[in-house]
């Protein structure tokens, strides 16, 4: 509970975050080819000669970002609100769940899952 918040915004319960995004993002063009992002978050670089190079998964890779402080605090990319929430659900603009992140209350470690 944040005492700086107005009373009507305070809660002693678990706080979750939600994010709505246009998904998947449009194809990006690079000097090396195009970057395609699939609905499940898989990122692929397609080179000019048609070679497909896997570039990880957008959603799954963010789990490592959320758990980053344990590795290198000065390089943390964790959103400032992360300590205040126990879960983050990502929705598309139609309200469908794309991915859900949850933080273990005991260990503080984030994990991710698909619907």
């Amino acid at each position: 509970m944040d005492p700086a918040l107005p009373r009507s915004l305070r809660t002693t319960g678990a706080v979750e975050a939600a994010l709505v995004t246009r998904w998947p993002p449009p194809t990006q063009h690079t000097r090396a080819g195009t970057v395609e992002t699939a609905r499940n978050g898989d990122i692929t670089l397609v080179t000019g000669n048609g070679r497909r190079i896997a570039r990880g998964n957008f959603f799954e890779d963010y789990v490592a970002t959320l758990n980053h402080p344990a590795r290198s605090p000065s390089a943390a990319r964790v959103p400032v609100s992360e300590p205040h929430v126990r879960a983050l659900t990502v929705f598309d603009v139609d309200g469908n769940v794309l991915y859900r992140y949850t933080r273990n209350a005991r260990t503080g470690v984030w994990t991710g899952s698909r619907p």
Binding site: R31, D61, S74
Partner: protein
Amino acid sequence: MDWKPTMTDLPECDIEDRAWSESLTAPLTEADDVEGRLNQLEAAFQALHPMVRPLAVEVETCWRELETGLPARNTYPDPPVRVFVEPGVPEGVVVLPATAGPPPIVSVPSLGPKALHALVGAERAQRPGLVLDWVRCETLTVAASTSEPISALRTRQLGVVQAFEPGWFAGPIDKLGYRLLPPIRIWLFADASVTMTIVVHWSYWARANSKERAFLEAACERLDRAGWVRDSDDGMR
């Protein structure tokens, strides 16, 4: 304190409580053209400079792959996130880093476009197949000017907020446990290409047909003529 939804009252002006945003993508640069991406960063801030002055920015660096031009994955250790703050952040206006940690705050004499170029590009390094580059530059604290002859604005929660210079209003403001967003925020990302997103949180700058809005539109058009591509479909209208 009784809390009500955010509403900004500006004297002599109708309330315009919706935001405005615009995104632009810069011309593609070569993977090793760090200086080119710094020039694009400078050009973006230069276009907005007469009306938008960053007082604090957060900068994220990365190792960029020379083969693909994309930020490298799973590099260790990652370059640090940095926060630069200009002197003269007014009382009641806060610097809120976007990342938990938080990164150390570095005081610098200026965050003007050329100074920002120099700060972000100060450290140059290479590894086999990789080059050190910036990937995110985000304003945390901003001042924005208005041509209207006002010295204060009024909000229901904060009461009167004085301009810290004639016609210049800064944010975010944190007073009495209540927070007011900055008038304008600017995000620059350098992924495959450099993309700038401008988000306006307050009228006058959001109000249609205002001089402030016209200035922002003109700044976007100047970048458009310089080869940037506007992505109006993503803007909140």
